[in-house]
Symmetry: D2
Subunit: 275 residues, 4 copies
């Protein structure tokens, strides 16, 4: 599926400010034939970085006071891998490659240690594998209200569980925390998503099953095979779309994702991953 | 029912310490013919206080370094009021006497504001009245493990809900928080309890229904008609059995409650209150 | 000093809502010749309550959807008691009347137990009495920025200490917490204040010294002898100016306090209390 | 300096447990001629991992119920790099390589965002560079008590700041948080330390200055040129010496570090780093 992404961000700066942008699509084999442009106004010297481990990309500018406008456009052929969920088993914790242990560790927004008792009581007895993570997503969907404004930058999965409301970021944090508590490596994914209404950045998560990272979205807001990854990290702290050091006020944001062939997003029951 | 209470507390003091004891049975009409003795060794000048609003009692001593031993014995005829639960309705919030508003306010260990979304999703649709508070207790009993050591003095109802384990104090805090979030005034009760194994102080809660305070115990550890109240408060912060200002280490505690006629505690389905 | 208070509050209600208003001046001997009117539009049946212990007053209405307007006007002759600070000693904790023990207990917004180590390191070595509480106020003034928007309804004294910014309510919570941690009973005071710019409700605190409650204001925003008390409580949870059960959005607030003789507020170094 | 490390850990397992050990010295150029042995009893199949980015090492075993004993011995020639502190400047945030941005991000135990106001008020005006981080360490040393038992696995830098007591791990978390809040990349270091009494694992931190990671220890418990690194991470969550998935109780721990030439540890005022 060929997707076209359009992302505009506006800021008003009160002081010289270092902007670190995380809006460019990740360098992945699944992202084929990427054509993109990143316009920053005013035009400023840039620094860029691509993480060799994850393909996450960063671009930074040191911007003077005044308005700052960012426009990122990209077209990408997205080639996901599909599998029957029953063929995606859990990896016994003793067989996990040790470099994945870090994806079992609690993190700030996904404090899996504090949610362990909860996760074990709700999900430990379920049949393992892709279906268990789907059951986790279903539980989140059924028990947490999707509501704008329900959370703020300090909201953790624990707060979301108690407050029973959140946005995509909070749903992903909760999914990540539950997985880790059950011994399933999990990580946070920021992305563009086909079919999101209104257009916005999206957040989902990946669980490591059968030796691969598989995508999950407890919000049911977008199709798993229409997600264009921006970045992965332990939780949202790692993959902010804009981090600034200085003094900046957001003045506007508009994000659009369309399929070039006009195909709508459809929810799939297949297991989906990118590579 | 005539109950005999025996309570021993031991401390080792490293410095002169003000002890404030909250171990004496409350002054209540339901506590008939109280005979009691409070021995403190060493024998020290005491100050005492009985709250005119609640009947809660306090005794304090300023103790020198060294061992401090407290022994409280009491015999009391406990006369509870019984009612059929169906005759104990909720009071619409607009009809609550305004002096009860304070029992709807969040408190430190029962932050009902933060648990409001949770309470509304789980309990708002239930039939109101005594049966709804019983449903809350059943939910707590089914979802929270009773486990010694699961909590510490900073544990709030929110922590208990997430950690899914606690002791009587935590169960009571959670019951209080859920009730307040639903508009039902609720308060914390510390007490002696017939049938507790091993012997210990107990904590339950009261909800204000039909114009009276009714007892509830989500732990199912003791019979509601075998509880001898020590004190009531907003939460455990108000009714500690021993508060000290100085330096004291507990060295032992033994609490026993027996029915003088040897009758065992039995769980009742009646609505129970004291007055 | 004769003060004239004018307080207007506006709300838009989306559903039938129980309003509990805490805006009327407290019933105190120091409040002489109170003339007041409380207009609520629409005009609705009211319930009122005056706490016999504190003189705090509440008025409630059950309001239908639509706009709700509250206008409270009062004129009061304020007669404070003045004393030289050196004549206001601390009461040794062992000599505190036991009914004041509750004012040493940690509460939700003033968790004095968690701030005990901090309070002891900063203030334990200071000379006791009124001057020590003044030193606490000076420390707060010097170390915490007064900044609107720095806090929200969940902000505790601990958050304020770490975030180093807050409003009057936060300054009062921190003062209360430090006092309690040092063994000085303290409570929260909501009030109208002469000289506040812009006009607003104000919050200060009282410490129990020399057998009386004395006023302190770490914000230095208003004169201690120009405060007209609305209510006292353990912390802000107890003395909200408006609590609602239903669905209400604030649409406006305007508060004015003037001295009828036009005298400006002046900061005093005397110890001040009301009775 | 040639150091000899001896580390013994004992556990009692109640169930089959996956142990992940982080006790081996890191693979660093500064660690010369490492000779080591890691004995695990019972003898079990092992998996090992060395992080290509950090040189952190992990070893895991799946252990059956019963006692588990770990003994790690190592001898290493430690070759630190020394520099005059005045020659170690801060890197302006706009000139930081983007891969270091992650070391500015708040993490669970070092929530630099929540401590930013505090850090700015205390340290922003100080002269920048190595000396500023030393000033941070001095402030921590002067204001936080080193006290065993003052913290638990959930204690964050914020808790330590308020509680004003902690152990090496807490001191390091606070140093890391303050640095990040000031725009100085910082990370957590777990290590063996010459001169620690009693023997234990140690924790310090590194700040990125002048294009290198420099060591800092706010506890003053050990000499910076006598630290043998085990691992680095964002905070303690990343570099636990033992993580287990199963059911294990620690039964004992003994750690010794000696200089083979018997030289004592001496505090240095030089800037110290490893590579």
């Amino acid at each position: 599926m060929r997707l076209k992404i359009d992302c505009e961000l506006g800021y008003e700066l009160k002081a010289p400010t270092l902007f670190v942008l995380g809006v460019e699509v990740a360098q992945l084999a699944s992202h084929i034939g990427v054509r993109e442009s990143l316009v920053i106004a005013p035009d400023l010297p840039r620094r860029t970085y691509v993480s060799p481990e994850t393909g996450n990309r960063l671009t930074s500018v040191l911007a003077p006071p005044g308005p700052l406008l960012v426009r990122y456009e990209a077209a990408v052929e997205l080639q996901v891998v599909r599998e029957h969920p029953a063929r995606v088993p859990e990896v016994p914790i003793a067989e996990l490659p040790l470099e994945f242990i870090e994806h079992l560790l609690p993190s700030r927004y996904s404090p899996s240690d504090r949610l362990a008792a909860f996760a074990l009581r709700e999900f430990d007895a379920l049949a393992p594998g892709h279906q268990r993570v789907t059951a986790i997503c279903n539980w989140i969907y059924d028990n947490i209200d999707y509501r704008r404004g329900a959370s703020d930058p300090e909201t953790s999965a624990l707060d979301t569980l108690v407050g029973r409301a959140g946005v995509c970021r909070d749903f992903a944090h909760l999914g990540v925390a539950f997985c880790r508590a059950l011994g399933i490596p999990a990580r946070f994914v920021s992305c563009y998503a086909l079919g999101l209404e209104p257009g916005d950045f999206h957040a989902v998560f990946e669980a490591w099953l059968g030796g691969r990272w598989w995508l999950f979205d407890a919000t049911r807001q977008a199709a798993l095979d229409g997600l264009v990854r921006i970045g992965v990290g332990r939780d949202a702290a790692d993959v902010s779309f804009a981090t600034f050091y200085g003094d900046a006020e957001p003045t506007g944001m508009a994000i659009g994702v369309i399929a070039e062939d006009g195909a709508p997003a459809e929810r799939t029951v297949e297991a989906i991953r990118v590579e």
